[in-house]
């Protein structure tokens, strides 16, 4: 391994790293927002919306991100809608992630036992208060492991962004290999930067999971 090569590549990777992080986390934010919204629509069986939510979840969970990105980046311009590559990446990640997050929230909401609701109602809480102070926070605690898992999954999914010519980490590595054939160095840095991106998430995630564990059911 040539360390001069590595040193000279680092600035390129750093730039790609920040682009990946920016798109990744904006996408995750969007995914959380969509996920909560969709899960609410399904949980409360909102007419029409619940139906649309169900179709949305199945559609996006069962198609690869690559297809979704192609659709946004190459498909939409055909009907006159052109979206910049970075927005496509964020949107694609948000829509894919939204379908995964929705499932996590929905199962969280669904697993709060009815005795919890009755306990709250018996105290005189309204249904809205019951949901706000009891059901939703409990569902959120239960959802933490799923949310963290999805975050890691989504950050890894950014590796397909190169397909719509976003200069993310994967794009940078492929590009450098194609230009200079320093495969070992390029791949080494790729792995290192992915670890830098993901390790803190899984470490902080485990800490958070342990923290909320005490706030869920159990003996």
């Amino acid at each position: 391994m040539n360390f001069d090569v590595i040193t000279s590549y680092i600035p390129l990777y750093t730039e790609a790293f920040f682009l990946t992080i920016r798109i990744g986390w904006t996408g995750i934010g969007l995914a959380l927002f969509i996920g909560v919204f969709v899960a609410f629509a399904q949980h409360f069986r909102v007419p029409v919306l619940a139906r649309i939510a169900g179709i949305y979840v199945e559609l996006f969970r069962n198609t690869p991100l690559l297809c979704q990105l192609f659709f946004l980046y190459f498909g939409l311009p055909k009907i006159g809608i052109t979206i910049p590559a970075e927005t496509c990446g964020t949107l694609g990640l948000g829509l894919l992630g939204g379908s995964y997050m929705a499932e996590v929230f929905r199962s969280g909401l669904g697993s709060i036992p009815v005795t919890q609701e009755e306990g709250a109602l018996a105290l005189g809480l309204t249904r809205r208060q019951m949901f706000t102070y009891v059901v939703f926070p409990e569902a959120l605690s239960l959802s933490v492991p799923g949310i963290v898992g999805n975050m890691i999954f989504l950050l890894k999914e950014t590796s397909v962004f190169s397909a719509i010519s976003l200069m993310d980490l994967m794009f940078t590595a492929k590009d450098l290999i194609g230009l200079y054939y320093n495969t070992t160095e390029a791949l080494f840095l790729l792995v290192i930067f992915y670890i830098i991106m993901l390790l803190p998430v899984s470490v902080l995630g485990s800490i958070l999971e342990n923290k909320v564990k005490i706030r869920t059911y159990g003996a």
Binding site: E118, G119, A122, G124, Y133, T216
Partner: protein, 248 residues
Amino acid sequence: MDVDMRPILEVKNISKRYDDITVFENLNLQVKKGEVLVIVGPSGCGKSTLLRCLNALEPIQEGEIILDGEAIRPGSREVNKLREKVGMVFQSYDLFPHMTVLQNVMLAPIKVKKRDKKEVREEALALLDRVGLLSKKDQFPRQLSGGQKQRVAIVRALMMHPEVLLLDEITAALDPEMVQEVLEVVLSLAKEGRTMLIVTHEMQFARAVADRMIFIDGGHIVEEGTPEEFFEHPKTERLSSFLAKMRF
């Protein structure tokens, strides 16, 4: 036990059905202020259902439930107001797992009654102290034993200053060594003149705590009386055999 004559709770001719099952029909009951009524009966006779109806967690098909002069109708707007006056503790510990003990007991007074936080906190600490759980105030339910959880659940209900307290087999899910600590709390509440409706299978306890006993079977109140009459001189065959089965 200063029992005055005014009924705080009146159950008039209520019927409760689930589809094709009739749980009870034309049931009548009056509970006076300060009275402790213990309800016993075989499994499935509708004890839990009765308490749930009294707290409007279940709709009734006929009749009327009147609390402190006001009718309780499930679904109507005044239901929440009435639930504030009727505290309930269930068999399953239903503490909110994501809140500490103190947060659990402070939630309803603050959110429902909009009372001052500091004042509620002081009252909560005093009550937790009374049931011997002051040191647990910052623990989560998961960190408590079953008996401790039930004592917190009682405090949580008391924090709403209910006119009537409904207790549904609150020791049934507890290990034997924890039953006593919970029953002692209930006994002390009875001594201070709380109005309570208690469903229990603990016959010793029933006898000690009750001002009046009722025995429900087959959708009717089969027998009713003072603990003395009830346990020493059961009038019906059904009650005697029930008591025999409870090994009393």
